[in-house]
Symmetry: C2
Subunit: 514 residues, 2 copies
């Protein structure tokens, strides 16, 4: 071990202030040896933040060795949401995952799922914790949780995400902790872990009425007797860079800002809007960059993931407070955050995902929900998860939690993908994650379709005119006309022989264009 490494681990050691837990310090390999084939393992991690950095890789080595020796070794892997190559990637590469839930965005995992080598259960992120408590997903054998520190009483300072950690710690037979000294000790006090949940019929109202309100505890409770290993680490989060907003995402942002201004003018939104929810990714980030330059002041956010765009809005003061379950920052934003953490501590609340995504809270607060989509059809059904009907991309994540219960449910995408060979507006969505009943506004760089109060054929005309790319507009209008001519009913007219033909044409020719 190098002296640098030793210094770093010393730093981690200082974070472990509970004497009993210090006794359980061991190497990642020793900790991984405590995970047996067939276990369900609940790991921390949400959008590349706060995931365990070393035990999963040690486990992958152990699995690889077992496979080399002809022994089967696979686990069920449960997380908050997506993680990173060191976790999902490492375990998928060695065929170590039998069943994955509730969300992933890893290229190796995706490839394994789409090759049929891994089971994947794609679950609304607000449903996961309760399904485990209900006993719907089976027994959780062990939790592997990254924390930023352990307090003298054994309580845990959460890392850059909370996700399902509270549930994993409470539900697992045993707990393995990674104490990551790379994470800022100043995170302490930023979290709000709600311990008021219960199983029905004993549930009580969740008494939150403001995005920034704290209703829980700053640390995770954890019975030290359940902890079977403590592994000191010193490693950064995934911290992926965001693309600079391009002309398309700036156009999308512009349409949304114009729409929100119109809603304020009509008296349908207060001038400080309502709490913002923003999905993950470059387009969402660009919309936030647009809002940061936009006319609205004194905003709040109640969202799942706090990205660079939202951090910039906190910096500029446009955003007063932000609630989330994870920080997903670029390396530059993470560096800024870590050097200015005292300015953010009171203004950012990191919660369990069962609270950040809770239907009760989302509906009560009345969010403006903005989420990306893969495609939508002319009637407003949105596909967030599948390519060409069969292949998973990532998963539904929290988009359904937010879209169904928001004040305004907005979905956005460029009008075309793959250099124009794919239209994101299609005759019929090849998979539906958000039905026509849950989609109020669609936005592409072409424009914004306000679907509120429109019947299906009215919606179709609006979506084609406002959102479709001109290269596909005529073909969509032709589809609609043919469907109206041929269909067995005029409510949502479809020509079933052609409804999925655009996707099939793409599969066969590499383009949806005729």
């Amino acid at each position: 071990m190098s002296s640098t490494q030793s210094t770093l681990e010393h730093a981690a050691l200082q974070r472990i202030q509970h004497e009993g837990l210090r006794q359980k310090i061991m190497s990642a390999d020793e900790a991984a040896a405590l995970i047996q084939p067939g276990f369900n393992v609940g790991m921390s991690g949400f959008t590349g933040a706060g995931y365990p950095k070393v035990v999963p890789q040690a486990l992958a080595r152990r699995i690889e060795a077992a496979h080399a020796a002809g022994q089967p070794f696979r686990i069920g892997l449960w997380t908050g949401a997506s993680t990173a190559p060191e976790l999902d990637g490492a375990l998928a590469k060695v065929e170590g995952i039998d069943m994955r839930l509730p969300y992933q965005s890893d290229p190796t995992v995706r490839a394994k799922i789409n090759a049929g080598h891994m089971q994947y259960v794609d679950i609304h992120l607000s449903h996961v914790a309760q399904f485990v408590w209900f006993g719907f997903l089976g027994h959780l054998n062990v939790a592997v949780i990254e924390v930023a520190g352990v307090l003298p009483d054994g309580s845990l300072i959460p890392s850059t995400s909370v996700g399902n950690n509270k549930t994993w710690i409470e539900q697992a037979d045993h707990v393995i902790l990674e104490v990551n000294a790379w994470q800022n000790p100043g995170l302490q006090g930023m979290h709000d872990v709600y311990y008021g949940t219960a199983l029905p019929p004993h549930r009580q109202p969740i008494m939150m009425t403001e995005p920034g309100q704290r209703i829980g505890e700053a640390t995770l409770r954890c019975d030290p007797a359940k902890v079977i290993a403590v592994v000191p680490t010193h490693a950064s989060d995934r911290n992926s860079a965001f693309a600079q907003p391009d002309a398309q995402s700036q156009a999308i942002a512009g349409h949304i800002i114009e729409f929100l201004q119109h809603e304020v003018a009509k008296g349908r939104l207060p001038k400080e809007l309502l709490p913002l929810q923003s999905g993950v990714g470059n387009i969402a980030n660009a919309v936030l960059a647009g809002l940061n330059e936009g006319p609205f002041e004194n905003l709040t956010a109640y969202t799942e993931v706090l990205q660079d765009g939202m951090l910039d809005m906190l910096k500029s003061g446009k955003l007063r407070t932000a609630s989330c379950t994870a920080l997903s920052l670029s390396p530059e934003a993470a560096a800024y955050f870590n050097t200015h953490i005292d300015e953010f501590r009171e203004r950012i609340v990191i919660r369990p995902q069962e609270i950040s995504n809770h239907p009760e809270i989302i509906r009560r607060l009345g969010l403006i929900a903005m989420n990306a989509m893969i495609e939508c059809d002319i009637y407003g059904n949105v596909n967030s998860t599948h390519l060409m009907g069969s292949a998973i991309m990532n998963g539904i994540g929290g988009s359904g939690d937010f879209a169904r219960n928001a004040y305004l449910s907005i979905f956005m995408s460029p009008s075309m993908a793959k250099g124009g060979s794919i239209s994101c507006i299609v005759p019929m969505a090849s998979h539906v994650d958000h039905t026509e009943h849950d989609v109020q506004v669609l936005v592409t760089e072409q424009g914004l379709a306000d679907l509120r109060g429109l019947a299906p054929v009215q919606r179709a005309k609006c979506i084609i005119e406002r959102c479709a790319h001109p290269d596909y507009r005529d073909a969509l209008n032709e589809y609609l006309e043919r469907a109206r001519h041929k269909a067995t009913g005029q409510h949502t007219p479809h020509d079933l022989t052609q409804a999925l033909s655009w996707h099939q044409r793409y599969v066969e020719t590499g383009s949806m264009k005729p």
Copy 2:
């Protein structure tokens, strides 16, 4: 006017105890004359209960006369949910409805929508009131509300449904009341109208933790100055008969009861279960009949519509308390209810539909949600609204409110329809109302598929084996195998050239069978 009629109207007169409102008594024709072309009209009525009985027919006559004179006359018609021939049927027959929301089940309305003569916006029933408050659906000009009586202070005793009446009365410029002396005066005290709603960001928690809890007021507030007409009536609700449970629905009920017993045995449900929600119709009614003969005691219900089956369970004592927004009873059950109303008053709570269907309450109480479906696909996506992808049947109603937020989300249907020419399990649903993420259990007379924790291909095998009719099982397995062979991804393998071919075959040949 006959003397009988005069006696009946005298009875209605006695129900109008507010002097100022007595001054506004007029005929249905006079009241209907106050409704102008282009108005949005919010009428009472939910599942054939508590709808206005005479003004809509008078309005239909007025519209018919206008059309005969070459004058355009159509209205926007908003209700709680479905109504009856005297309302939906009468207005649709004369082409009097331009836009209908949020739910219908009337044959004439359905035919007009499917002929493209009427716009229909199919909305989650929990969303309707708030969308109107938000200003998303336009201005409400007049409300036409059936009540069981008017108290001296002008407050209104609701009828057999509450639905959206509170919102219509508060949001409309003017109110027309029908005071129906046929309705039992003993309804007074059975309702619970919650006045704690607000627009975000001012919303507060709804402090309800038990199905039978009362959190509001027994009557509807109504400013007498807004009332422009009071029309006495004496007419029964739709009160449609239910079919006797047949062998198929009894088999479905049997599978559900067996499953619930299994869940109790596994410790995943308490022995008195959790509050029941049951959709509308004969199968739902049969399941309740099964539960009434079943092993569970001391049950509760938190549902949208209270049907005969639930009334029987209240009679037998199996059901302790039931919360709903409407009573939808057969003539026999209505007669029993009306002669024994004192036994039911404390045990039935009739609420606004924004509360009966509220995601916050549904999630907190942890309902067992049982809803009918038209079809589902092999991956568990459910179609509740459309026939062959294009034609509307009824609408989504509250099924989405319940399925998304329930403890257990169960969908049920016979495995075949139209004498076997339609399989209710299909390769790909021709319309999706409840996505794979929201469907946990599927039941047909063939069996029950427990989809919890299963990935898509696992779900497909389970659904085909347990739920599909043997006549279609081989063809479904062949589809799955071909899809797995051809698909671009193995997560949710589809053969896009064949995914909708069963529906198309039905359209062309009258049968899904090859």
